[in-house]
Symmetry: C2
């Protein structure tokens, strides 16, 4: 899009649903897209200009992607950061920056930096043995949360410890010392909210209307926007979101998950340096979606406005039935509902609990949208056969 | 999407910007797409699952497309209808139906049917010689419009005759008898408006908020929505749009262009049996875009609501400079404007006047949106090099 080139080429590490939704926005402005993903029929495959079929730890393949692209980005945070740092040092454009990724990848380091910068977070302590965990219990009491510092997602890598008897099982579950571990105080929260924020290379920041999240078995099931929070909480959360973006010098979309405690404090829970499931509502809910702004940010273009078009609810469609070839049923029934949009990721294989698609419903009120979304989620199924 | 198949496959004849925008919507629901287009790097190429590179009159190629697809559609109306009728008779699904396409392809037959069904149209007469044209003048007076009955678009195929002296030149311009011709009375109109309507296979119809069109040198330059018309005119236009859809048993999106005359009559000017340039505003202006509803209709899915999200203006970006490799300039400047979205079609070659992209601007009022859109169109250029 620059004056010297016909097309800007974006390389994306990962060709899952987030990559796919980035491409659907990028193609509106005719970017050329190369993905790197080990799965031949991954969701982004059919709409990418080129697909480098390689594992995410294939450094030669990542180097090939960088060479072919004007800028590279990624759709998930569990990437070896060394090769990215190496490529960045050689002058390749990588956003979000490897430095911000490196800190965020390790939840302990992530939280430590936030704490140093006076961002309120649940209290935490590094642990490396059963004994350490017992000591943490003396400090935090039960329940408390044992977390793997790296590689967690959708609740994987987290284990709630409700009593001393459960320490051993949780410790075993999280690798019995094979992984870096931390213990976090359990925060009795009244709401979990997401602040999506996008920061440009020059430091311009936009934040999105705050979403309120519901989980089922630690997997996000629904995001309601706007969140039902007071304007004080809202202002505090948006301010925290902006601070976080500046602390990490984040470029592109970040999701900052927060707890609103029962005594109305706002604590930062976790940061994802990428478009996030709780931001999917923005595709049809906002003037500029999280994916569109991510593309704009990494392509050095001005960010778009994030106004909410209407109250919006996003509901995930998780794999039902058994593991097998994905099959979608109930499409007609869902599309008969008012203002319901269906997004199907196109994963070849469905597994119980796997994120297979989502619904976005807009309405005059969040409650109305939520009712329709719930009904829709009962009508549509993506199941393995 | 049916219970018996994993993916429904849509074949599209034409891989231009309309095909591309259909695919961007279809991919949200994970349809598989095959395009047929002679140009290897056509706008839809990079996001289609398969591209049959063939001329539009290549009957074997169209047959191949039909065999591979569950349903075929098209992005322009100048296709040989015989092969489509043949395929339909063999049981292939083709929407809009070849029968409706056949009538619409010939403007005389199109108008004749409308007239028979009491749809108000400008008066017209078939002509085949200079003498006939002179006779028409006796009936309609000057100015009057000489039209080629087939193959016209963007003003091509139309020639305004202002006096008897101009008859010969217009006759020569339109092929001197090689084409079927008609003369139409010249209607002094105050506004040209578009009614987009979508009809399902079962006959459900939705209509879109009416757009008001401005042309420059017979090429659409801007569509403002909602049109500045009285509610009486609006109701009349929407009713006509619905009637037209039923008359043609149209399936999918049709655009019905109309004149609002100086004495406040509404006349149907022309019908396009496909998504239309004057409906691009719906991508970011409506809950369900014209492309999304077209896909829903031909895939036998329920149609989506067409509510206008905000007042919206679409402005075309026509090729500037000279003919040559397309180059986009001014992207940053445009995206700095409030609520301006840029769509670049990705045509390899730009030619003066060629449709290369468009801008969509939403605002609190149409006038505001129009001002921003005008400014945006002055900032962005797609020019040949």
């Amino acid at each position: 899009m620059s004056k010297s080139k016909i097309k800007q080429i974006i390389g994306i590490i990962g060709g899952g649903q987030l990559g796919k939704m980035m491409i659907l926005e990028a193609k509106k402005m005719d970017f050329e897209i190369i993905i790197l993903d080990p799965t031949l029929d991954c969701p982004a495959h059919s709409i990418a200009d080129e697909h480098i079929v390689a594992n995410f730890d294939d450094q030669a393949a990542i180097r090939e992607l960088a060479k072919k692209s004007d800028v590279i980005t990624y759709e998930f945070e569990h990437i070896g950061v060394e090769i990215l740092k190496e490529l960045e040092a050689e002058g390749y454009n990588i956003y979000p920056t490897p430095k911000s990724l490196e800190i965020i990848q390790n939840k302990y380091n992530q939280k430590q930096l936030l704490k140093e910068k006076d961002i309120p977070v649940p209290d935490f302590i590094k642990v490396s043995s059963r004994e350490d965990i017992k000591k943490a219990a003396a400090k935090f009491g039960y329940p408390m949360m044992l977390k793997s510092c790296t590689d967690g997602y959708d609740g994987k890598g987290n284990s709630l410890i409700k009593s001393e008897e459960e320490i051993d099982e949780s410790y075993q579950t999280l690798g019995a010392g094979d992984n870096l571990l931390m213990v976090e105080e359990f925060v009795p929260f009244s709401k979990e909210i997401s602040v999506l924020a996008c920061r440009s290379i020059e430091g311009e920041i936009v934040t999105y209307p705050i979403g309120q999240n519901d989980h089922q078995e630690s997997i996000l099931i629904e995001t309601k926007v706007p969140a039902k929070i007071t304007s004080t909480i809202k202002d505090e959360a948006l301010k925290l979101g902006q601070s976080v973006m500046n602390i990490f010098s984040g470029v592109g979309i970040f999701c900052i998950e927060m707890f609103v405690t029962e005594d109305n404090r706002v604590l930062v829970n976790e940061i994802a340096p990428r478009p996030h499931n709780s931001g999917h509502y923005s595709i049809e809910g906002c003037i500029t979606s999280q994916f569109a702004n991510h593309i704009r940010a990494i392509a050095e273009l001005p960010l778009g406005t994030t106004d909410l078009v209407k109250p919006t609810v996003m509901r995930n469609i998780l794999g039902a039935g058994s593991q097998g070839q994905a099959n979608v049923v109930g499409v007609k029934e869902v599309l008969n509902l008012p203002n319901a949009r269906l997004h199907v990721y196109g994963k070849g294989v469905s597994r119980p609990g796997r994120k297979m698609g989502h619904l976005i419903v807009t309405a005059n009120t969040v409650d109305q949208a939520s009712q329709v979304a719930l009904k829709a989620s009962e009508l549509v199924k993506i199941e393995g056969r």
